[in-house]
């Protein structure tokens, strides 16, 4: 660790720099998307009769950008879990999407229990959100550690694809286990967050952008703020603390790290805890945003976040952030634009998103920020 000389230095390194980085990513992605949108409007002024593309874009661009950013942060937080685990163990933790699901279910459980006490409305909003998210983080993190202990640790040293299959097994197990649990305890499948009892959370904030007014949902703002805070904390943890250094050492070279007296197993558990708790937090925030979750809610965000992690360069923490934001923005953009092109439409969003991914990977085979894969000679 580079010794930190002064408070300003510390602030720069762990607050200003990461926040600035995020801002640059957001603004950059937003600019690219806006330019693309207007370029399309220039090329196809009237893609369908009576539809003037420029007007449509003017109307929906602010909403699209906000949706893209909040979606992007959710992806980024899940992607961090993939990337951290990949960093130390070099395998895709397919069960991570279920940890996300678990977090969203825990968020529901905590909020529902609070609601049942009848005092939830009286809680301070920030305290309430923090309370829910922290519970989700704690339990999801512990679950991730448990999964690693049971299903992955015995497989160290096995071929790389073996833990992958084990992870798939865990993922199948978790979805149905949660389903069984909810079936027995509540006899419910669709788990609805009791946000209806919280007017401050339910009612959107109207924001005027020129002529158009965009209803910004409070939960979107919560997601963005919480994600920024957590990512800053994460950056400090990985780059500024001794434990983070240990994780980095293990991910760089496990055998040397163990020779240096680092408890490799402990570091791996810690990595799973951190990755799992981020997945869980993302789950709870996502749940609050969408209102209803099910035991199967993890699949799509999981795959998307995995894509984001790869897009950014898997194993690279900043890459996960960039990849998540980029993918969220691309998706929001495609969803908003494709509608206007006859014979295309939103159903081709994923096709285009994957095409962008393939294009990027052709030119940068290790993702946007990934380093060249080590070539042992």
């Amino acid at each position: 660790m580079v010794s930190v000389r002064s408070t300003t230095d510390w602030l720069y390194r762990y607050v200003v720099f990461p926040v600035g980085q995020m801002l640059i990513f957001i603004i950059g992605a937003g600019l690219v998307v806006s330019v693309l949108a207007y370029l399309l409007a220039f090329l196809f002024p009237e893609p369908r009769p009576n539809i003037i593309l420029v007007d449509q874009i003017n109307r929906q661009l602010p909403g699209m950008l906000i949706a893209g950013v909040s979606l992007g942060f959710v992806y980024a937080m899940i992607a961090l879990g993939y990337t951290l685990v990949y960093g130390v163990l070099k395998f895709i933790n397919f069960a991570h999407s279920e940890i996300f699901m678990f977090g969203s279910v825990i968020g529901f459980e905590v909020m529902r229990r609070l609601d049942d006490t009848g005092y939830m409305q009286g809680w301070n909003p920030i305290l309430l959100v923090a309370f829910i998210v922290l519970w989700a983080m704690l339990l999801s993190g512990l679950l991730a550690v448990l999964i690693e202990r049971i299903a992955y640790r015995p497989l160290r040293g096995a071929p790389r694809l073996v833990p992958l299959i084990s992870a798939i097994g865990v993922s199948l197990f978790l979805t149905d286990a949660v389903r069984a649990f909810q079936a027995i305890t509540r006899n419910e499948f669709n788990l609805t967050y009791p946000t209806i009892d919280l007017p401050w959370l339910k009612n959107p904030i109207p924001l005027a952008f020129g002529e158009t007014t965009v209803n910004v949902r409070v939960t979107s703002i919560i997601i963005i703020v919480a994600a920024v805070l957590m990512l800053v904390a994460m950056n400090y943890f990985v780059n500024g603390t001794k434990l983070g250094k240990g994780i980095r050492a293990v991910s760089q070279d496990m055998s040397t790290a163990s020779l240096m007296g680092i408890n490799v197993n402990y570091m791996i558990s810690l990595t799973f805890f951190v990755g799992g708790s981020f997945g869980g937090a993302a789950g709870a925030l996502f749940g609050m945003n969408v209102g209803t979750v099910t035991p199967f809610v993890g699949f799509i965000p999981g795959i998307k976040a995995f894509t984001a992690a790869v897009l950014g360069g898997i194993g690279n923490v900043t890459g996960a952030l960039l990849g998540g934001l980029a993918l969220g923005m691309i998706e929001s953009f495609l969803n908003g634009i494709l509608v206007y092109f006859p014979a295309l439409g939103q159903r081709y969003t994923d096709v285009f998103a994957f095409s962008v991914l393939i294009l990027i990977l052709i030119f940068r085979p290790s993702g946007l920020l990934g380093e060249r894969v080590d070539e042992k000679v």
């Binding site: 040293g157 096995a158 199948l172 069984a180 159903r347 081709y348 994923d350 085979p365 894969v373 042992k376």
Partner: protein, 531 residues
Amino acid sequence: MTTQPTSSENGFSLGALFRPLRQALQNPVIAGIALIVYLIFWYLILSSLSRQDPLFPLKSMLAFPPLVLFPFLVIGAKLDGRFKALLILAVLFIVIPLVGMYDSSYFELVIQICIFSGLALGLNIVVGFAGLLDLGYVAFFAVGAYLWAMYTSNVDTWFKINDLLVPASSFYLFLFFGIIVAAIGGITLGLPVLRLRGDYLAIVTLGFGEVIRILAVNANSPTNFTNGSQGLDGVARPPSLPFLTELITRVETSLGIPINNAQSLSQQALFYIIAILIVALIIVIARRLDNSPIGRAWTAIREDEVAAIAMGVPLVRMKLLAFAMGASFAGIIGVLYASKQSFVSPESFSLNQSIGILAMVIVGGIGGIRGALFGACVVTLLNLQVLKNFSLQINNWKNIDAVIPSWLVALLVFAVVGYVLFLVVRALTPLLISLARRLNQNFNAQQIRVIVLVPLLIVVAINALQLPSFRFDDWPTQLEPAKYERLVFGVLLVVMMIFRPSGLLPEPRRKMEMQESKSTQASVPANGGKE
């Protein structure tokens, strides 16, 4: 953590009990006779099962897998090659068809096993031989299936409107077309991803699989090619062979099997024969490839791409060939599948299907032909037979109001809890020894386990004996076993991986590599950066 206890470590040796038997089986004559007896035994069991029997699902689930897995037993035995071949042919072309005549659901199972075997073998070429992780393999399967379906379905597609439909008899020709079209698809996927490795490749192939599926869902407008999510039905089946129907009728009358539906049975038998032949063809090709310079080039790429280039392996050509070969197998199987189901819809080609096939390859033992086949058999049997029958059995017990008597409840609880305790105590042995040492007692592992376990087991036994009997009718509806087949499957996947990380039937060469990499880094539980 010790995952593979040897028998001597267990404290009691089962091995000694069977040693004479094992030695006897080394003798080819005895082994041969044993195998024949085994075959006849399971055949007799299966042919005598009756659906009226409330225990039918359980019996069928216990008796059918041993029959299907018989060929693997034959291959593992110490026997003359020709005799082995004879035995395998006998089970494939006499015993299984006979069993299928008694109960046509076995035919369906074996055909599905063949289909998944073909897919697993194809994916094994890409993932196992060449080391290219492909998560979108099902796309090529879809290409083959849609190829045949679009040309023969009776839905109003572009093909039908333009009078491009082909007669059912061109099925055999289309098997060949399926190979070609899917191979072209494989190369199309392979070209842009040549530079990608490992997980980057995984995500792009995953995307490719999804793209193909999305195209299948949406290619119904503006021009209708695939009929979208409604799917193509009325896909043609190869014309049935009259002599096969006749043969089946004759065999059934001579064996006294009630003729249920000879026409549909002969249809199934025809598919069964085609499926077996296709899988046999795939096995032959895969074996020849594996032992050829191409196979060695793939191994080189898999183990170390840079070194492979340095040694002059034509990387581009070899990678593309791997994709093309793997895809072409999926293509031919796809044509067969479309025709067998007579219906094709995008639901059959989801990501889960790709993952399932990958699971087969890895469960069986990656990189080996036998392993891929074994994995396909085991996973398909688990999914479509064993787990299904297990839920049916419990349902049957519910229906006949069966009760587990209290003594059996006690026995089961005792066995399960006892075994778990045994595992826990075994894992804690070092700790217990050191604890004992602190108390100035010196025990060896064996003694301390007995001292700790015996009182515990007695407590468990006393408590277990007080448990009431269990009525199946009390089984809660939320926990209906049919609902949790996937959960059980997930647990089994984890367990199989933990206890047999190199697969159920690992390839000897692969096994050697693994042991090597384990012994060189025994101290560090890393994976050594090996792809």
